[in-house]
Symmetry: C2
Subunit: 191 residues, 2 copies
């Protein structure tokens, strides 16, 4: 059996993540995971819906220590964000088309007309039904109930072909030295 | 750039997941995600530490409706589970060796001596330091803070080479028909 080798340099795709159906308090922790995964796996920004809470703070605190330019914002008008998106909209849901079948089509669409930006829509337990019609693609990461955090991570890992794990983040105050046995953290720029 | 094609039939690897450091109530939801991801992405069982709560119930309810034989158990002696493991122990942590470098080594180790079983150790925010020495491998899915749910999903997706997304689950009462636009669920064996 031949094994896949991750690409050293991820394809240059501009990804934003839109988190739908975030419920205050109850979803804070999962939405924070969504934000951190977005950042760590190569997306550029997260758009949260609903009222402002601690989610953005937690994510921005991580960015300020670990580097990079990941952005978090809130919108009260997610429909406008989706409708006005000048690029491809992909909704991750367990009811969609199989990732294994549809990823190359998405990749082709993104490549046409000078690299369109991708909006990844991530629902919570309930999503407004209309999003199924508004998205260009509804994509299932396996047709089993699991986790929107997992779905997001696997989608981005596949999209960026593993290359996102080689990324570095500018202006990091903290940086880990990968190690077989120890926790090694470099502290830089601490001022 | 050449793109990776998922394998149709995942490599036959017996994976158990050990969830460390689960704190009651606070971690229930994340631990439930850990369990559902384990099941959906091809692991066979989840071992929870700490006191019994609703986590096992939630996961078993999903298994009973969506099929398969995924097992959940509790242990008060996780050190014994790790020490007595007759196979390979992989600890997922942001401080470990890079997944992109180490996965093929793990694959080789597993293949030697008639397919050893794999124990995947997933910590919560705090993990006992000794696990770094007890594991055969400490593996980082990117050296950035993100989510243990994401780390688990990406590790399993890479390990099973995407083939786990083709898996079916026996005795399912509910089954989804993948669809570009609709939520289509087949109800079978409902009795």
């Amino acid at each position: 059996m031949r094994y896949w080798k991750p690409t050293r340099v991820p394809p240059n795709i501009d990804v934003s993540v839109l988190r739908l159906g975030h419920r205050l308090v109850r979803d804070e922790r999962i939405s924070t995971h969504i934000g951190l995964v977005s950042r760590a796996f190569g997306a550029k920004r997260l758009i949260l819906t609903g009222a402002d809470d601690h989610t953005a703070d937690s994510i921005e605190r991580v960015r300020d220590r670990w580097g990079g330019t990941f952005e978090v914002s809130y919108t009260k008008k997610w429909r406008d964000v989706v409708t006005n998106w000048e690029g491809i909209v992909v909704h991750l849901t367990m009811y969609g088309e199989a990732l294994n079948d549809v990823l190359e089509k998405i990749r082709k669409d993104l490549g046409q007309q000078r690299n369109k930006p991708l909006l990844l829509v991530i629902g919570a337990e309930k999503v407004p039904r209309e999003i199924y019609a508004m998205a260009n693609y509804n994509v299932a990461i396996g047709s089993q109930p699991h986790s929107e955090v997992a779905a997001l991570a696997v989608f981005l890992d596949r999209l960026f072909m593993g290359g996102e794990l080689y990324s570095t983040f500018d202006k990091a105050k903290l940086r880990i030295k990968p190690s077989a046995r120890a926790k090694e953290v470099e502290i830089a720029n601490e001022n």
